[in-house]
Amino acid sequence: MSSESHTSHADIDESITSHRELTGLQSMIRTQPFWVFVAIVAIGVVMSIISDVFFTERNLFNITRNFAFFGIMALGMSAVIVTAGIDLSVGSLMGLTGIVAGLVMQAGFSVGIGFLACMGTAALVGLINGVLIAYLRMAPFVVTLGMLAIARSIAMVVSNNKMIYQFGPDQDLFEWIGGESVFGVPNPVWVMIILTAVFWVAYRYSTWGRWVFAVGGNKDAAKLAGIPVERVIVSVYVICSSCAGLAAFLMVGWFGSVTNALGLTYELNVIAATVIGGANLMGGVAYALGAPIGAALMELIRNSLLLAGIDALWQQFFVGLFLILAVLLEQIRNRGG
């Protein structure tokens, strides 16, 4: 090869490597959360035309608060799903951690202690899930299905099947945290916003985030690259459970009471929200912004059906429909390259 052709080859290389294939906007348009967001805006526009109530401050306040709990849990679920895992125990865990928080505060402890007990219980359950899955190589579906039953059962036993509505000396503060708002935005929504930002930064800028996606993309390759795969897997289950605990703490404060039925069947909605938000159950793909967006779409469907005067019994039908459509859309886009 002559030196001249070497130079031109190098020039081509230079232009190739410095060339950026997609601008920020272009790459955003290719993500699922973007299209779900478009759907949300479209539904919002239609609803504000056909319903006077929809675009009121009161209604938007309710919508955002209602989906905040699911958004918080979907963030945790997204980390699990990235690793090609699943956590079916989040709904039951809400029941258990809500009851634990309630019992601790009912016994006269402060809201701080109640919070620590709630989060400690959540983290412990996540740790058990994670260790069984990562170190004993058990299937996430089976482990967390077992935990779904166990956590709900423990919640029933420790609550003695009674409702708790007295939360000790800090009752007012506790109910303020979950039920009130700051600058017109409900507190759970603030928590969701902050948590979304934390997840976004962690996914993009932390080694942990990089490793979580690597484990989901190719566990063996991650292992060979020296990534502590088992510890990464344990971490995502602890985080997912902690998000469920946090959501329970806020929700009990909002309700002002808790029974052991708290969070019953929520796992399905949380998983649906995460998948609608662009997470791939095969692992390796999820978006921090997708979790609240997926949760928002589901709440919006519920709210819209209600305002449009359609029987609320149809809600699950539309949630299911959107879930299947979202996955179908993903399939079509992948096939199109």
Binding site: E21, W211, F213, A214, A222, L224, A225
Partner: protein, 246 residues
């Protein structure tokens, strides 16, 4: 002095003798072809050198110093990198992310450390350029050709400036055009004074890039010859057993 020396390396799996007293030397800037039929012990030998498992007996010397590995990371720390047959890449990550996987570059503000994307992309682009590969650091590995994936896998090995690069069937699953690209990558490694072991079934590849060829048959090394002193017919005979040893 050879960069890597194997002395009487044997490996038994229960009653099965996978390797039987193999001696081998690899020098810097030398490409050694390792050939043999399926089950001849090529992969076992590579896995021992890469630290996947220890030999039953025999020893390994790196720059004259005896080394023992209990896991792959030990071998990497001593300067032995391996490009796996299945390439061991994460399809969902970019080329740059794969190159730096497990060895991410970080920046710090105060006590907070975060991923330095621009530095990793820049460094990866330099590595691809050195390898004369058309791989773009920001592309997802999922969208890449076999040749580009090889470039990513090989670029990984160059982060630590290893002494020895082991390549397990790098041309087994790619198109003819890409094979030429991969062989070119191997020549780059040789030019930059790395010792390379190329495990391959493909006679043309071995004869086009290797300086020496070693042949294993049923766990025993039956030949170790300079490429100039042999020919594909002889090597084929050695592999199949038609020629006893040379």
């Amino acid at each position: 002095m050879p960069a890597l020396e194997l002395r009487g390396v044997s490996k038994n799996f229960g009653a099965i003798v996978a390797l039987n007293g193999v001696d081998m030397d690899i020098s810097n800037g030398e490409v050694v072809g390792l050939m043999g039929d399926n089950g001849a012990g090529k992969s076992t030998l590579m896995k021992i050198v890469a630290g996947n498992f220890p030999p039953t007996s025999g020893k390994m010397l790196l720059d004259g110093e005896e080394v023992q590995f209990s896991k792959p990371i030990d071998a990497r720390r001593k300067g032995i990198e391996i490009v796996y047959q299945d390439l061991a890449l994460c399809d969902n990550l970019t080329a740059a992310a794969n190159v730096f996987l497990g060895r991410e570059k970080k920046k710090r503000i105060g006590f907070i450390r975060y991923l330095d994307h621009s530095a990793m992309i820049k460094h990866a682009a330099e590595l691809f350029k050195e390898l004369k590969s058309e791989t773009r650091p920001r592309d997802l590995v999922r969208q890449m050709s076999g040749g580009q994936r090889q470039a990513v896998a090989i670029a990984r090995t160059r982060l630590s400036d290893p002494k020895i690069v082991l390549m397990d069937e790098p041309t087994a699953a790619i198109s003819v055009r890409q094979v030429a690209e991969v062989l070119e990558l191997i020549r780059r490694l040789k030019e930059s004074d790395h010792g390379v072991v190329l495990v391959s079934h493909r006679m043309p590849d071995v004869f086009s890039v290797c300086d020496r060829v070693a042949v294993l048959r049923r766990g025993t090394k039956v030949a170790d010859k300079a490429i100039a002193n042999t020919n594909p017919e002889e090597v084929t005979g050695l592999i199949t057993g038609a020629i006893g040893s040379a």
